[in-house]
């Protein structure tokens, strides 16, 4: 067998000491990178630049530099601040809710039995349905005249007469949060289940033998083992829920009286209805800074990210 020096390096477990291999490896990644850079990073850069310009959509050459004007307008916009507030309520409410439901179910379904496997499969269904389908599903149930939820609540005496939960200022936000929990808890559940599998059996058994009770075992063994995965999962869910507009776009469109106007809907309005590209881009930049800042600080404070 011909063992040239180059082939010897290959046997030593490194594929890429040769220059040719480096180029080959890079070429493999190139098509995917072109799409990601062309359709995410390039538009993102364009958006950052546009946030300092007043854009004339119909004649791009007519667009002018306006410095921080777009940001100033945004900060003076009352609806913007209300959207920020609503977004925080929506994101935190739905993420916490989904994380709690997911954790509870993961703990209950952790044992590898046949029924648990069936339950786990069933509980994943909400997550794969289109957000729009889920939105209509809940519209059916929360609707006014024929909504089953309103009807049941009147029967047990909690409501005087059935209401449309999506059309009432006090109930619209809780209703969209419940629907969002419904479709997003499965993700938390499968991630936690994967985390639970990493807990060594011996440690659990030792604690059991030492007479630790259920709560102690959860607090001192399960939780420390799950910490990283909980942190990563909540980070992802916060980001996803922050961006998730399907449900509100379909059910309330930000109403009634802006009570569910989240930033994604606000941005949709400034972009599509008002065609104000500069303002929307400024919003996008602030949004990006906020999410990146959140992820960095959160991961740092939970010590998931190394220094």
């Amino acid at each position: 067998m011909d063992l040239t020096p180059a082939r010897k390096t290959a046997t030593l477990g490194n594929f890429s000491l040769r220059r040719k291999d480096k180029i080959y490896g890079f070429l493999l990644t190139l098509p995917a990178l072109l799409i990601v850079f062309g359709l995410i990073f390039y538009p993102l850069g364009l958006g950052i630049i546009n946030s300092f310009r007043k854009i004339n959509l119909f004649n791009m050459a007519d667009s002018t530099w306006v410095g921080l004007d777009n940001y100033r307008i945004l900060f003076r916009y009352n609806l913007f601040w209300q959207s920020v507030q609503n977004t925080l309520v929506y994101t935190i409410g739905s993420t916490l809710g989904a994380a709690l439901v997911g954790l509870l179910l993961a703990l209950l379904l952790n044992k590898q039995t046949r029924t648990n496997r069936l339950h786990r499969g069933f509980f994943l269904i909400p997550w794969i349905l289109p957000g729009v389908v889920v939105a209509y599903m809940f519209s059916f149930m929360f609707g006014e005249s024929n909504g089953i939820v309103g009807y049941v609540l009147t029967v047990i005496g909690l409501l005087e007469k059935s209401i449309n939960f999506f059309a009432d200022m006090d109930t619209a936000m809780p209703a969209v949060i419940i629907a969002t929990i419904w479709l997003s808890f499965p993700f938390a559940m499968i991630m936690y289940l994967a985390g639970l599998k990493t807990i060594p059996k011996e440690i659990e058994e030792a604690a059991w033998v030492d007479g630790a009770n259920l709560f102690q075992r959860f607090w001192h063994i399960t939780l420390p083992y799950l910490k990283n995965i909980i942190v990563i999962t909540t980070t992802l869910m916060v980001i996803w829920n922050f961006n998730f507009m399907d449900l509100i776009y379909t059910t309330t469109r930000g109403g009634p009286v802006n009570s569910t106007e989240i930033l994604a809907i606000f941005a949709y309005r400034t972009a599509i209805q008002q065609l104000n590209f500069g303002l929307t881009s400024a919003l996008g930049v602030l949004w990006l800074l906020a999410l990146t800042g959140f992820a960095y600080l959160y991961l740092r404070s939970m010590k998931v990210l190394g220094d």
Binding site: N14, K22, N50, L124, M137, M141, N146, G147, M191, M245
Partner: protein, 290 residues
């Protein structure tokens, strides 16, 4: 309280039952609504089991060719037009993502090149980007490339969104596979392409199935780009198609809406339940190792 006490067993049972009802009821509700008559879907109080089972809603869905929507494709009703559009977009996204992510994942896992780590981080950072920051620039880019109102535009856009996560998933998976077989093949004179198709490909099939499912669902359910980049309703995919089928200006046809919801959800639910094992392990592999 220990895990065998009656109190524990009972509360476990109650929580599980509540969760089952919470998840199952909405699914049950649209299913039976799709079999109710038009009048019954509006009745107060609502009926838990249809008084009279009917397939009228499904017939309406099959035939739905309302005003202003004459230019139907393939001569089918709206729901099926949107489902076919959705299938074209989703299968294309799935195919492109699987091929491109497999190549890139292999490249990132097995080779070293100068800017590899910054590139991997850049890919990861895209998970944080708000759609809002890119949706308008993408509109401008698409306008200059004549990609507005085309399926190709939506396919490219959604592929761009799902690629970063898919590449990471496959890279992490390939990292766990032993290199020895590939090295032996290299020494025996196999070329790179043969190694990829004959040795690596069969080994990464579970992860590829997971990536395929992930990208198919992402494309099938995607709303944002479809709102921004398509104005031609005959090209719309499932999420946007819904709004325009059974929701009229004056009334909503609950039965028809429910029937089309069942129709577009059932195939993905069945496929998902069949391939669930791969999907879950592929999705969680990266997270538990990292």
């Amino acid at each position: 309280m220990t895990s065998s006490s009656p109190l524990f067993t009972t509360s476990k049972f109650v929580i599980l039952l509540l969760a089952l009802v919470f998840v199952a009821f909405p699914l049950y509700w649209i299913t039976i609504t799709s079999f109710k008559s038009w009048e019954e879907s509006y009745s107060v109080p609502p009926t838990l089991i249809p008084d009279e089972w009917t397939l009228k809603s499904y017939k309406a869905m099959w035939l739905s060719t309302a005003e202003g929507f004459k230019e139907l494709r393939w001569g089918l009703g709206r729901t099926f037009t949107f489902a076919i559009n959705g299938a074209i977009v989703s299968f294309s996204v799935t195919f492109m993502t699987m091929v491109l992510a497999a190549l890139a994942g292999y490249g990132f896992s097995r080779f070293d090149f100068p800017v590899k780590n910054p590139l991997l981080l850049a890919l990861l950072s895209t998970q944080m980007f708000p759609y809002v920051a890119i949706m308008l620039p993408i509109y401008l880019v698409y306008r200059s490339l004549n990609l507005l109102n085309t399926h190709a535009g939506i396919i490219l856009g959604v592929t761009g969104l799902v690629l970063p996560f898919s590449i990471w998933m496959l890279k992490t998976y390939i990292d766990t596979i032993d290199k020895e077989v590939e090295e032996a093949a290299l020494i025996d004179g196999a070329n790179r392409f043969q190694i990829m198709t004959k040795i690596v490909l069969p080994l990464i099939i579970p992860a590829l199935v997971a990536v395929g499912m992930f990208s198919f669902l992402a494309a099938w359910n995607h709303l944002m780009y479809v709102i921004i980049l398509l104005t031609d309703l005959t090209l719309a995919t499932v999420p946007i198609g819904f709004k325009n089928t059974f929701i009229g200006f004056l009334y909503t046809n609950y039965g028809g809406l429910a029937a089309s919801m069942v129709t577009v959800s059932l195939p993905i639910i069945v496929t998902f339940l069949v391939l669930q094992k791969y999907f879950v392990s592929g999705l969680t592999a990266g997270a538990t190792k990292g």
